[in-house]
């Protein structure tokens, strides 16, 4: 891959931070955006910005076509069976809240069990805890081993007769662990369990094929895969979407309204109430175009090299522990240095222009499980380089001296 060329596509890499060149290692939080994405947004708002659907005029038609093309693009990118299986949301968090809302009273009832894992992000925990409190479901939490992998030897421990839903992350935003989705979902399906995948991280570093994975729902955010904020996706199998009730209610999702009765539109429109984020959808489509033209396979391979290189270099640092050593790992490294608080570490590294993240990474239950307060986390994208990693480990050594 032509990294030098690729880096030129990301204007934010030109930024200076405290007089240093920005080293952006906070990709798991949000990605930087390439020029084409920024330009697509600019072009939309300068040329054919308009409200979509019902209007008959020309620019509204252009906006509608662009919006629906974005839907098609996403469908193809994750190999959905039909475009109608793609619902635009604000992001992963909304997609999961969407599901906990519409599954209750239809799929999920009092006394049913939902399976989660201990490595979930708060966005795939708190909605379920809330549902437990209001609906009276039970939560079953799957543990990890020392490497940060789920135990998949005995699915008898995962599922019971009461299990109705499995909601699991594609990969951990803290440990990097990529979960063996196909295997797990096959077992869930055998038992008639509805399966939800939190793909916030997974979509960024894997080739996702929802038909191959065979999950019922797959959720992700645009802003983490080089798209804009305020747009996300909920993929759902058509058969389920057809029978599930809508989430939010309003303009654009109805056929007929009176104060006595409402007739909803067909899938996916009945799930998209109000003016959609057309600009966001267009940005997401452009981001996918960018990924495809760069080559997803090459991206994955290169990011894996960055991961391996950084892991080796970090392991050379004394008193440093890496949390998450799964064989199958996204380019995300969480670590801690004995005697040093993670906040001090990242604050000082910020002084050298390094953007990383310290804390619980919205995964407090995982922190409890690991018996730590938090970690320092670096996460890579394909615009990162080996030189950046060298710079980073050099600076860690300096900072370590300051703090011990």
């Amino acid at each position: 891959m032509d990294i030098t060329g690729i880096r030129k596509d990301f204007p934010e890499l030109e930024q200076k931070v405290h007089n240093h060149k920005l080293i952006y290692f906070d990709n798991a939080a949000t990605s930087l955006k390439p020029f084409p994405v920024i330009e697509a947004i600019e072009e939309y708002y300068s040329k054919y910005n308009s409200n979509v659907h019902r209007a008959g005029h020309k620019i509204s038609s252009l906006a509608t076509i662009a919006y629906e093309n974005a839907r098609k693009k996403v469908a193809k990118f994750i190999n959905a069976e039909s475009n109608d299986e793609i619902i635009f949301t604000r992001g992963t968090t909304e997609s999961i809240n969407f599901l906990t809302d519409i599954l209750q009273d239809s799929i999920l009832n009092n006394g049913d069990e939902v399976v989660l894992t201990v490595m979930e992000h708060h966005s795939n925990i708190v909605p379920w805890v809330e549902l437990r409190n209001t609906l009276g479901i039970d939560l079953k939490i799957i543990d990890i081993n020392d490497k940060g992998e789920l135990d998949i030897d005995d699915f008898g421990k995962w599922f019971s007769e009461k299990t109705k839903v499995l909601s699991i992350t594609h990969s951990s935003n803290v440990l990097g662990t990529i979960n063996p989705l196909k295997k797990i979902i096959k077992e869930a399906k055998k038992r008639g369990v509805v399966t939800i995948v939190d793909g916030a991280q997974g979509i960024v570093h894997s080739k996702v094929d929802v038909q191959d994975i065979d999950c019922d729902f797959y959720c992700f955010s645009g802003h983490k895969i080089y798209g804009a904020m305020g747009i996300g996706v909920l993929y759902g199998k058509r058969a389920l979407l057809e029978v599930l009730p809508p989430y939010q209610q309003g303009g654009g999702m109805i056929e007929k309204v009176s104060f006595d009765n409402v007739v909803y539109s067909s899938v996916p429109y009945k799930f998209e109430a109000g003016t959609p984020n057309v600009g966001g959808a267009i940005a997401l489509r452009t981001a996918i175009d960018y990924i495809e033209s760069t080559g997803l396979e090459q991206i994955i391979e290169y990011e894996k090299e960055l991961l391996d290189y950084a892991t080796q270099k970090l392991l050379d640092i004394e008193h440093l522990t890496i949390y998450g050593t799964a064989v199958n790992k996204d380019p995300i490294i969480s670590f801690g240095i004995a005697g040093i608080h993670h906040y001090d570490l990242s604050t000082l590294l910020d002084g050298f222009g390094i953007a990383m993240r310290s804390g619980h990474h919205c995964a407090q239950p995982l922190m409890n499980r690991l018996e730590i307060d938090g970690t320092s986390r670096i996460s890579f994208s394909f615009y990162n380089t080996f030189e950046e990693i060298d710079y980073f480990t050099d600076k860690i050594k300096i900072v370590k001296k300051m703090l011990i």
């Binding site: 008959g56 020309k58 509608t64 076509i65």
Partner: protein
């Protein structure tokens, strides 16, 4: 005339016009000329779904040929329906089924229609074809 010939005629007619207002005038003219249907035929079953305005379509099989009547509360859809009636009405169901309409593209209608209208047009064609399929089977 075969369906193909009627279609060629339609395309030729449209080639006479330079601008879209003339084309719309032609479509509207066809809409005005179309006989329409009786009030009691304007029922849910005859409604073409997916149109921005109401469009009705009534089939009738006479001597192994399928005839269509159509109507709409708006003139442009009615004109478009009229073109489809002109194209297909009075033909054997199988021939209607076999025909792949090209005039929509050729006359540039696609670029002019909003996605909703384009959906509506596709629905009209689909509904005609599904009637044709139905009658070709019960024959």
């Amino acid at each position: 005339m075969s369906i193909k010939d009627i279609e060629l005629n339609l395309i030729e007619d449209f080639e006479l016009f330079d601008d879209w207002m003339d084309k719309y005038n032609y479509i509207i003219g066809m809409g005005k000329e179309l006989d329409g249907i009786e009030e009691d035929e304007k029922i849910q079953d005859n409604l073409v779904s997916g149109c921005t305005s109401q469009v009705w379509l009534v089939p009738q099989l006479i001597d192994d040929r399928l005839y269509f009547k159509a109507d709409s509360d708006a003139l442009i859809p009615k004109g478009i329906a009229a073109m489809l009636v002109k194209l297909y009405s009075g033909n054997p169901p199988q021939e209607i089924l076999d025909h792949k309409p090209e005039f929509i593209k050729k006359i540039g209608l696609e670029q002019h229609l909003s996605p909703n209208r384009a959906n509506g047009l596709a629905s009209m064609i689909n509904k005609m074809k599904s009637y044709a399929e139905y009658y070709s089977k019960i024959k």
